[in-house]
């Protein structure tokens, strides 16, 4: 672990990505704990649509709520949804990918065809469909985004698992009579940690974007709670009179995704044995 952290900071884009993600995690934590400059849902009626100033760092919105505080709360909210949905997708995808690879034949066909169908829908459309059916809310978005990204994890796991399954150490394990669960966990899963780590980092970026999209459409986080997508949505009609309402949440989304992508790229370089030099 320590070695990987050191490697990330030795890697050009990893350093930038790592710092960005670190700052966001801190902001998200502060936002979730309510340690914001103002209360994110208190409406300061007198200071409606206040431009950024010393009192309101990023200005206030139509209802006089502090944008900086709402931004922190929103980051907290978006990150929570992203983390839980990616955890869901990782778990479900890994189990199904391993099952497809290990059981093979018919099971492989069934699982992978279901995943193909899921993948055929654009991510946001599928999430919309699920949320519309289940009703909007934080936890439905978690499940919806989780389901949307499950097929990607299934594919990421199945491919390498199939090739690991044909490796000689798995044959060797069979000759001692190792149980399938032992082979799957020790020989397959343990060797899949590296590709999964990379995929998780990248999936977090997509999940953040999908969460913002759902909230923007009014199907994710419900007002008055703050969310980056919701803030963007609220700013639409005030674009010209109060541009800070759009600029800050927009930048927040963009930079967070940039951060996760840079970190993901760095992890890929570090964990891929072909570019292992970064670790040395």
């Amino acid at each position: 672990m320590k070695r990987i952290l050191r490697a990330i900071f030795g890697h050009g884009s990893g350093r930038i990505g790592g710092v960005i993600v670190g700052v966001y995690l801190l902001l998200a934590l502060l936002g979730l704990l309510g340690l914001t400059p103002h209360n994110p849902i208190t409406q300061y009626r007198i200071d409606r649509l206040h431009a950024p100033s010393a009192a309101y760092w990023m200005g206030t919105d139509l209802f006089g709520r502090d944008v900086a505080s709402r931004l922190m709360a929103g980051i907290g909210q978006s990150f929570t949804v992203a983390f839980f949905s990616v955890a869901f997708a990782t778990l479900a995808g890994t189990v199904m990918g391993l099952a497809a690879a290990w059981l093979g034949r018919r099971w492989d066909g069934i699982v992978m065809r279901i995943m193909d169908v899921l993948l055929a829908f654009p991510a946001i459309l599928l999430a919309l469909l699920i949320v519309t059916v289940a009703g909007p809310g934080t936890w439905t978005s978690v499940v919806a985004i989780g389901i949307v990204y499950t097929p990607i994890f299934t594919r990421v796991v199945r491919g390498p698992a199939l090739s690991l399954k044909a490796r000689e150490f798995v044959d060797a394990a069979r000759t001692f009579g190792s149980s399938p669960s032992y082979i799957v966990t020790r020989h397959l899963l343990l060797n899949l940690v590296a590709p999964l780590t990379v995929q998780v980092t990248l999936a977090l970026a997509w999940a953040l974007l999908t969460e913002a999209g759902l909230s923007f459409l009014g199907l994710g986080t419900q007002p008055p709670a703050a969310s980056l997508g919701l803030m963007l949505s609220d700013s639409r009609n005030l674009m010209e009179t109060a541009p800070w309402l759009m600029i800050f949440p927009g930048l927040a989304i963009m930079i967070s995704i940039l951060g996760f992508n840079l970190l993901g790229d760095a992890l890929r370089d570090i964990l891929d044995p072909k570019t292992r030099r970064a670790l040395a």
Partner: protein
Amino acid sequence: MTPLLSVRDLRVGFGRDPRANEVVRGVSFDLADGETLAIVGESGSGKSVTALSINRLIDFGGGRITGGSIALKRANAAVLDLASAREPQLTGIRGAEIGMIFQEPMTSLNPVLTIGTQIEESFRLHRGLTGRQATAAARDALDRVRIPDAARRLKYTPNQLSGGMLQRVMIAIALACNPRLLIADEPTTALDVTVQAQIMALLAELKRETGMSVIFITHDIGLVAGIADRVMVMQNGQAVEQGELNQILDHPSHPYTQHLLHAVPHFANGRAARADGQRDKDAGTKPALEVDGLVVRFPLKSGFFSHATGAVHAVDGVDFDLMPGETLAIVGESGSGKSTTAKAVLGLVRSTRGSFSVGAAAASAARSARPVQMVFQNPYASLNPRLTIESILAEPVIATGGRVNAETQARMASLLERVGLPRTSLARYPHEFSGGQRQRLCIARALMLNPSVVVLDEAVSALDVSVQAMVLDLLVDLQREFGLAYLFISHDMAVVERIAHRIAVIYAGQIVEIGDAASVLSKPKHSYTKKLIAAVPTIDRRREHFELDTRQIPSLVRPPGFEPAPARWEQFGRDHMARVEA
């Protein structure tokens, strides 16, 4: 007269700081017109890097020439230093003046283009031939490497040809423009012995016809005898010894050359076969393993309803028995069914028919007190890179329902010591060990369950000769100590001679000859065994000619319901019989 090629103090490095990571450190040699230089060394000695530096292909592999000169005498007698030449100049030299063939014919050809197109490319680039002229030139090139029916073969894609045929195609491409220098980088390592002998004979013949010079790179000093005029031995990036063929082979002066010559398994036509542990059938000991009428078929299905259209008869009626403390070597070429036989014994492949005396129980190690265990060919692929040695050695115990307790720990430590590895290895990971050490780990792992039979599937083929010799010695010692029976699968006759008590020669899924090692190797009866033995390269067979034989192994695909004719055997001596040939 200036030599064709004169290399002086060549230094090649890799990585960000090539000077600090030199792989070739000051190699010098000369190559005269029409001469063959063999560069011999073990893996990592820098022999391939030296050769790749000559046509500067090394630039594409991340290497840099850090010093020295490579003077090539060109066709117009001008001398060019390849070490400092620019890329456009080199493009004109590669292929036209320096041809190259690689180790893996299967991967050096583009699988989606016909071989005709790929041969024509060389003529198009260097001679400007197009259309019909190029096709005609390609056909002539194939004729030259003795590929029968060349006109038709031009339309084949690489997957339709065998490894030996593909290597001939590679040679045809390399020789397309009559280069005056051919670099052959382990051209036969990936091929079977009989095919290897054919390719070597072809190279020797082409060399005589064209008068070109050849740099022949190999790890197998036995192969050098048939082709080289001069030999250069490399170790750790330096040329430790070079000289005339006979001088190097008969009077090596450097200790490393002596070591290599000593370590290489000399094939001695059965004279070096093991004399210990002669089998004595009357003693009434029960065989450790008895295989009776083993048949393994892989059905072929095609069409929309996937009906059976035939089957690949991988193993077709194999019988043998194996006594405790005895080694039976199964010898054959790739695709002959020897590995499938081993896997069937272990239950890794389901057998279609046939019985094993211990097989049923041994297939699941949990149900047998002394199970059958296996050591695989590739020591790099048979150990999980993410587990410590302790977890790896503990796996067979856990798999059979045992607990990892002090007793297991003690056994692990003692086995590690027994195979020649320090006790401290337990906490380390496989990548910290060399190929030979990993194979020792695999052997230790196979011994954890105290097996009766160990199947060694090409267990020493991937190792360097000196390491190979040590692992073979270890195997013999362990056999005596634990009374192990070995089923030793190999294609290498010289290795087999060192370890086997008995030999079974397998061809196209059937045993064609079986018997006492000394007898089979010294007086082979079946024509295939004779061919196999004649193809073994040894340092004693200098400049010996091998008949070019372009026959391919018969297809193993049979129509549904096909049964081979029952075998008729002819007995020679006490323990030696061969299949009667049709």
